[in-house]
């Protein structure tokens, strides 16, 4: 009985010391996580150089057009969005606002930027067929035009691509990114099987014939109208 009580007392002492040691460890300041936080903040990557302006890409095309000899224009414009740089901020009185300025390196200062546009439209005559390159400079818009001409009626689908090419001014290193790929669908129609040039010729010829056939009655028509007015 005596041995059991001694064993119980020793066990209690051991457990109590373990518990105290644990509480001391948890109460003590831990320098390790702080060091980790510091190392994490210093290891943050520097922001990549970017074009310091918000731009707006506008694509204008005819969703429906006449097949045959007639052509139309597809226009792609990359212009500066004047309102794009404004960041809306809500201010509440009494609140403390802490901000940090992150300077994004200006890409125009370090690189030559060239916009490249391409129109892939299967089955339709496209001019120019190859990619168009336009130098992009600060605040200046760039516009690309394509002339399209569907020979046959039907639905034509294609993609308008816009890439940006960067060339490092100091090293000459080149890189390229895709900015936009927009799918376009154009329907080419005819007039009940009549191509547009036949429809135009028939329209002109029909007007002349209709005028000639109806001409002898012009006098009667004028007399009829005047009679109605007098009444």
């Amino acid at each position: 009985m005596n041995r059991i009580s001694i064993f119980a007392a020793v066990l209690t002492l051991i457990l109590a010391s373990i518990a105290c040691a644990g509480s001391v460890e948890s109460a003590a300041p831990a320098p390790q996580p702080t060091a980790e936080v510091v190392s994490a903040s210093t290891a943050m990557p520097a922001p990549q150089p970017a074009i310091p302006e918000t731009r707006r890409l506008t694509l204008e095309f005819p969703p429906k057009m006449r097949a045959g000899v007639e052509g139309d224009i597809i226009r792609l414009t990359l212009e500066v969005d004047e309102l794009g740089n404004i960041t809306p901020t809500a201010l509440v009185e009494g609140n403390v606002i802490v901000g940090e300025t992150i300077e994004i390196p200006d890409l125009y200062a370090t690189h030559n930027v060239v916009a490249e546009a391409n129109l892939d439209l299967a089955g339709m005559e496209v001019q120019p067929a190859e990619a168009i390159f336009e130098s992009l400079s600060r605040g200046q818009p760039v516009t690309f035009y394509w002339s399209i001409r569907p020979q046959e009626p039907g639905t034509y689908r294609g993609t308008v691509w816009l890439h940006l090419n960067f060339e490092d001014k100091s090293t000459g290193e080149k890189s390229r990114i895709a900015v936009s790929a927009q799918i376009v669908e154009i329907e080419a129609v005819d007039f009940f099987g009549l191509p547009v040039n036949v429809a135009r010729t028939s329209g002109v010829a029909g007007s002349v014939i209709g005028g000639v056939v109806g001409f002898p009655f012009i006098e009667d028509i004028i007399k009829f109208l005047f009679k109605k007015k007098k009444k």
Binding site: A50, T58, P63, I104, L107, I177, S180
Partner: protein, 44 residues
């Protein structure tokens, strides 16, 4: 006879004007606007 001729002239004229309107009317245009943020125009 006069009435038939007048009717024929009206039909031919109406048909011809319809053809001319279809053939010379401008194509409808569709415009799509897409804003591009500076983060989309940075080095890869």
């Amino acid at each position: 006879m006069k009435k038939i001729r007048l009717f024929l002239a009206a039909v031919i004229l109406a048909l011809s004007i319809a053809l001319l309107v279809w053939a010379y009317s401008p194509n409808p245009r569709e415009t799509r606007v897409q804003p591009i943020a500076p983060s989309e125009m940075q080095l890869p």
